[in-house]
Amino acid sequence: MSTRHARPQWVLWGSAALILGAWLWIFWGADALHARTDVARRAASTGTAGTLTLAQQLEEGEYLARIGNCGLCHTAPGGAPFAGGRAIATPFGAVPSSNITPDPTHGIGRWTADDFWQALHHGISPEGRRLSPAFPYTSYTRVSRADADALFAYLQSVPAAARANAPSGLAWPFNTQAALALWRALYFWPHSDNGRPADRGAYLAEGLGHCTECHGTRDFLGGLKRDKTWAGAVLPGIPWYAPSLQKTEEAAARSVADSVALLQTGQSQWLGTSSASGPMAEVVLHGTQFLRDADAQALARYLQSVAQAAAPATAHRSEHPKTGEDPRAARLYLDHCAQCHGKDGQGQAGAYTALAGSRGLLMDPPNNAVLHVLYGGFPAATAGNPRPFGMPPFLLTLTDADVAAVLTHARSAWGNQASSVSALQVQQLRRTQLSH
């Protein structure tokens, strides 16, 4: 590269680099100091494995790994369990999950319980490297030492798989330790008290369950906004919308029993059938359906408190509801949707979503409703709902304008009042790849 004609640019870049460097120096220093302090602290740690026998610890660890859904991210499609390799989408590139089987070379076979604790609690590898927050240690920092030890014991007991970790797909500078130091300084606060918490529901939701990692709103650097922990977000890489767990018109808990049903079976019967869908169906299938009753109850009670903390006086509806009757859209609905969802959007108990009053249909952004129509789908096949009824994809049979029209119709019929869906919105979602 010739620099002859680029002198002013070099000056500009140089200054920018100096300023950035100064910032990084400050953040790096703070972060490194913190990590060192903790290494000293953990060296002094006496261990809190407590009174569990190894068998009990393994059983507890397996349960925790399930409800924390470790295997969902740490297993590639068709790959060995926990051997990593699934691409985790972030706004800055895909991060492949790592091998957490006991393989001594590629996995965590040489780790100690302290190493595992440092990764979970501080997001720092045994070599002292800052881990990517695609591994949500921002939540796992809340996990108790006893639970971390149980998880570690269980992971050490699964079959070792000699699968090498793939390099990060992050672009420079996001793949640097400096960038992570900066990010951590802005967004990461290691949890200070890691004994058994009083509120089991909060502990599960904010810790191992890492619910806010999807349901929380993030800023442009991918950090969770502290005041919008449960405010909802479109997921990076895949355009599903993880709804707000505060807003009554989105996915705020309606009753403890209803939340328990949704978490354990993937389906709710609140004023008509509705189901967890998209990535949440996977979370239910691999994780929350295995919640013990007491944990499901605790989690549901906590979700209830989250909902009530921010419940508005009245449900928000779009200011511009579509009121005009579109005969073509009504026709499309009768031809393609009414057979299952009912002429009046009443759904079918236990099988098909009731569209009249359906929060999933009426949410803004309407991504999930559009994705349902385009790609179809099944609810999670759980122990509580083992043979779910599926919806066919309409990607190949309906045009963007058709999908927009029929959704606009359904969002404004039978008392529904939500904004119209445009063909452009459908087109943008049609072009996205849902597979991962």
Partner: protein, 219 residues
């Protein structure tokens, strides 16, 4: 407006549950209207189950299938496979092919006898003398659209489609020239499916000089 609304009689049945499948694969899974989506009805249950797993585990790729299967359990996949396998639906007559008699003759030779020089076993050796498949996991090759057959052999050649290791079909597909792929798929697509179209219980006895193939998905 009182147009004919489809009778919305809900049934607590597998047919009702699998409307998500039959939207593309045709009513009762007897193949789709556009000549691409393959038939499901009457195929060996083990074969159908293997394909569902292949999509779920990334050995076969089709975004719609992958998305639909992601939230389903292994037990449910088995039930869906068994349901479609048990449907006995007559096949439609074969679609006439425009291929030359020479090409069709080459296709028939490959299907019935293989080509020892190219180390190609005969299709009938594993897929049954009637080519309607063999229980429990080998599919029939007749009654499928030519475009679909071409896409599958092409997929095996490029690694886009895989089966359980050792992947015998990948080995075979890579030994086929483009002309031979064309010959085989043209001949297969021109055949009318015999009735009954049930998969054979066993493979035909191996004759002298039969090329042995190891197949992970149909051991």
């Amino acid at each position: 407006m009182t147009a004919a609304v489809p009778a919305a009689v809900f049934e607590n049945s597998m047919a009702q549950r699998t409307l998500a499948c039959t939207g593309c694969h045709g009513p009762q899974g007897k193949s789709g209207p556009d000549g691409y989506y393959p038939r499901l009805a009457g195929k060996p249950a083990g074969y159908l189950y293997n394909q569902l797993r292949n999509f779920q585990e990334g050995r076969r790729h089709y975004a719609l299938m992958e998305g639909l299967l992601t939230p389903l359990s292994d037990a449910y996949l088995k039930e869906i496979a068994a349901y479609f396998s048990a449907l006995e639906i007559p096949y439609p007559p074969a679609v006439p092919q425009s291929a030359t008699p020479t090409l069709l003759a080459r296709g028939e030779t490959l299907v019935r006898k293989g080509d020892a020089a190219l180390q190609l076993p005969a299709c009938v050796q594993c897929h049954g003398l009637a080519l309607t498949g063999v229980q429990p996991s080998t599919p029939g090759l007749v009654g499928l659209p030519r475009d679909y057959l071409n896409a599958q052999l092409g997929g095996w050649q490029t690694g886009q489609r895989k089966a359980g290791a050792p992947d015998c079909m990948a080995t075979i597909a890579k030994r086929l020239s483009d002309a031979d792929v064309h010959a085989v798929t043209s001949w297969l697509a021109s055949q009318t499916v015999p009735m009954p179209s049930n998969p054979a219980a066993h493979r035909p006895p191996a004759s002298a000089g039969t090329l042995a193939m190891e197949c992970g998905s149909a051991p």
